[in-house]
């Protein structure tokens, strides 16, 4: 299965995909970023994967134009799946329409709790005792798409978002790679009897 990846930052989720999935269950055929200094681009280059930058400023601040260019570049590489690995931009409806039910994201909270940015800080501020990670399909909302996989982590004494993130990161890597592998072997499908449920045959 050919996979495109979008990233914004350090790219540790991308690295997990390159290390564990690339060349096995899937082939990463393209890595795009919204900023030229995203470390993810270096990781992709080291792995010999084509990269490109789609900064909003290069498209006159026009999100539709940026996402159209990014979609063209990705589509030319024929991915069956687009993986958001720490990609911090909201995708336009036009982009999502080109990859229907084929864009997934990993989020460091048990959605629908704590969507959006700074999810772990939100959770720590709320005073929860259980944290977690969600992999979901991306729709036009903010972290509101259908859930593929979730994993919980009980951290009843957590007070420091950085410590929580360090504890969640291995779960993010594991769950995102697992989701790609499951999708690659056709084990993930919508429940025909339920609009929001994703059936996973593990």
């Amino acid at each position: 299965m050919r996979v495109g990846v979008l990233a914004s930052g350090a790219g540790t989720n991308l690295q997990a995909i390159l290390d564990r999935v690339h060349g096995h269950a899937a082939e990463v055929v393209a890595v795009g970023a919204d900023r030229a200094d995203a470390q993810a681009l270096e990781r992709a280059a080291v792995a010999g994967v084509p990269t490109a930058v789609f900064a909003l400023d290069d498209h006159g601040g026009d999100r539709d134009a940026r996402d159209a260019a990014m979609g063209d570049w990705l589509a030319a590489r024929g991915p069956r799946l687009v993986v958001l690995a720490g990609y911090m931009q909201l995708l336009t409806p036009g982009f999502l329409a080109r990859f229907p039910e084929r864009v997934i994201n990993v989020h460091p909270a048990l959605l629908p709790a704590f969507p959006g940015v700074r999810a772990i800080e939100q959770a720590v501020d709320y005073g929860v005792k259980v944290f977690g990670v969600t992999v979901h399909f991306v729709d036009e909302g903010v972290d509101s798409g259908r859930i593929i996989l979730q994993r919980a982590l009980e951290l009843p004494a957590a007070t420091d978002p950085a410590e929580v993130h360090a504890a969640l990161r291995p779960l993010e890597h594991e769950l995102l790679c697992k989701a790609i592998e499951l999708i690659a072997r056709g084990a993930v499908r919508p429940d025909p009897g339920h609009p929001r449920r994703i059936l996973v045959a593990e």
Copy 2:
């Protein structure tokens, strides 16, 4: 520690408290209900615990009057803690002011996700893969008070709310009893440095 309990229904959480905590870490000194047919009342009577019914209709539909009478009855029995064990009424601010930070509730979801009624149905409808239970202090909002304990349960193939509830019920009993025991031995206190966090010394 003297404990009052409020219930509305079958009273399985009350039964767990009577079986595991009553006469050990705490003494249940009063069981109130908002309906005369609450099975919880029978369970209390069998255990020799005083009971009373505070139905809204008996107070002309006036929630303040009902909660004032209920508060008087409870206060006369001197509970240090009031436990909501499947109590389906929202408590008035006047009632809560009489028992400040001394009312706790158990909720069958990982709050702040899925507050309010039919929490498990809400979670199943959303398509989550992780369910859970929360014990929290009660404030004037709906399931919005500070969290004492949470426990997660991964049920990735869950489709039936009744099955989820059957799986969560033992966790509800365990967590609610544990919270009472922790409070009885002074192991639960607010974090002076954080408005929402409850510190638990296990």
